[in-house]
Amino acid sequence: MFELDVRSRKPIYEQLVEKLKKLIINDVLKEDEKLPSVRELAQQLTINPNTIQKAYRELEAQGYIYSLKGKGSFVHPVEKSENEEGLKKVREELKQLFAEAIYLGMTTEEIQAILREMEGVN
């Protein structure tokens, strides 16, 4: 399904969370689609099943997936306003990026132009 970069400094657990998020956000994994079981994924990627369990728990806490006892984990239908934690994180990241942009001399107009461009895309 995807590859992990074992050479990367990033913990495997974080890589997993990010990769799965990306798949969900880009609709590669559809709403209510079943994710591979912990066992399957552990064997496929040869990584510790506990690490995968942990990544799934994290994704559940962040509202990206839900789990049914005995059935597995599924992609959560998207409800954009619900994800407070996620929003908070993105807000922080945006702040940092904006600070950097302003610091590097980007004008407010330029930032607004980027924003409009992205709105047009979505």
């Binding site: 400094r9 974080e14 066992r39 552990a42 064997q43 510790n48 942990k54």
Partner: protein
């Protein structure tokens, strides 16, 4: 699953283990790290019930291990130099195991024959070091242990075999919740498969933690400031180590990532890079803190 409480162990007058306590949860893969001569092998042999501790408690599967046949049926220890009966072939050795272990799984043994592709009728003594280790894994995995203790398990194995064996181990952890205690100096490898690690130094446990928690608590930062005001930075953060390379300052900082980044941002760095630490780096800095530092060695 494995419970070690305040264990002391001496050989003659030399104290090898000092008040060692740690535990391994069921279905966990625990990496035991340590400096040379820290007592890792002694600790493993004590847990396997080969040695008896002078003081304290050692339990596996809820019972003391020493002289306990029932526990030993379900616990396999693979020493750093595998031992086989002299002049035995793989087949004969398997026969011996079959008679010893109640849970011997013939089907698994036959299946693994295809994985390792070793000639069953050859004397083990004539195999190479790496092949002997494969035989050790072959036999150990056929016993279907609940607890597997591995001392430097990947030593001498080629890259393909390493991957195959890792797959086998992970399969048993995922499907049967086997518990693994693994000691290794190859931190790269430990990092990939363990969920918990413990560091032993001079017979004492220096640190014991969930690997992801450990890694999210320590950071490597590269920062540079326009003015020479990096002195201010050093007063506020929990800095374990710092090094100046030209105008760039390299810091090893402990603490919550968010807080660290907020603090640094307040000083408006021109350069700010945040890198997660590898296990190898964590090991080196923790050891440095315990007085086992790398100095510039010139002989």
């Amino acid at each position: 699953m494995i419970e070690v409480k305040q264990v002391d162990k001496s050989f003659d007058k030399e104290k090898i283990l000092k008040n060692v306590s740690f535990s391994v949860q069921k279905g966990s893969i625990y990496g035991l790290l340590g400096s040379n001569g820290a007592g890792k092998t002694t600790l493993m042999r004590t847990i396997a019930g080969i040695l008896v501790q002078d003081k304290g408690e050692v339990q596996a599967l809820g019972e003391p291990v020493f002289e306990n046949e029932q526990v030993k049926q379900k616990l396999v220890f693979l020493p750093d130099a595998p031992y086989f009966l002299p002049q035995y072939t793989v087949k004969q050795m398997a026969n011996y195991y079959r008679g010893m272990y109640e849970r011997w799984n013939e089907e698994r043994y036959q299946k693994l024959k295809g994985v390792f592709q070793l000639d069953e009728n050859r004397k083990i003594g004539r195999f190479s070091k790496g092949m002997q280790r494969q035989v050790a894994f072959w036999l150990a995995m056929s016993v279907m242990p609940d607890v597997l203790i591995l001392d430097e398990p990947f030593d001498g194995l080629d890259a393909v075999m390493r991957q195959k064996i890792r797959q086998l181990l992970i399969q048993d952890v995922a499907e049967r919740e086997m518990t693994i205690l693994i000691s290794s100096h190859n931190l790269r490898e430990v990092e990939d498969i363990c969920d918990h690690i413990g560091i032993l130094h001079r017979g004492e446990v220096l640190l014991e933690r969930d690997l992801d928690d450990l890694r999210s608590d320590i950071h490597k930062l590269q920062v540079a400031f326009r003015d020479e005001d990096d002195a201010i930075l050093q007063s506020e953060l929990d800095i374990v180590h710092h090094e100046k390379r030209g105008s760039v300052l390299m810091l090893i900082v402990k603490g919550n990532e968010q807080k660290v980044s907020e603090t640094v941002q307040r000083y408006h760095p021109v350069v700010y890079d945040h890198l997660p630490l590898t296990l190898e780096e964590i090991f080196i800095y923790e050891m440095g803190g315990a007085g086992y530092a790398i100095e510039n060695i010139l002989v």
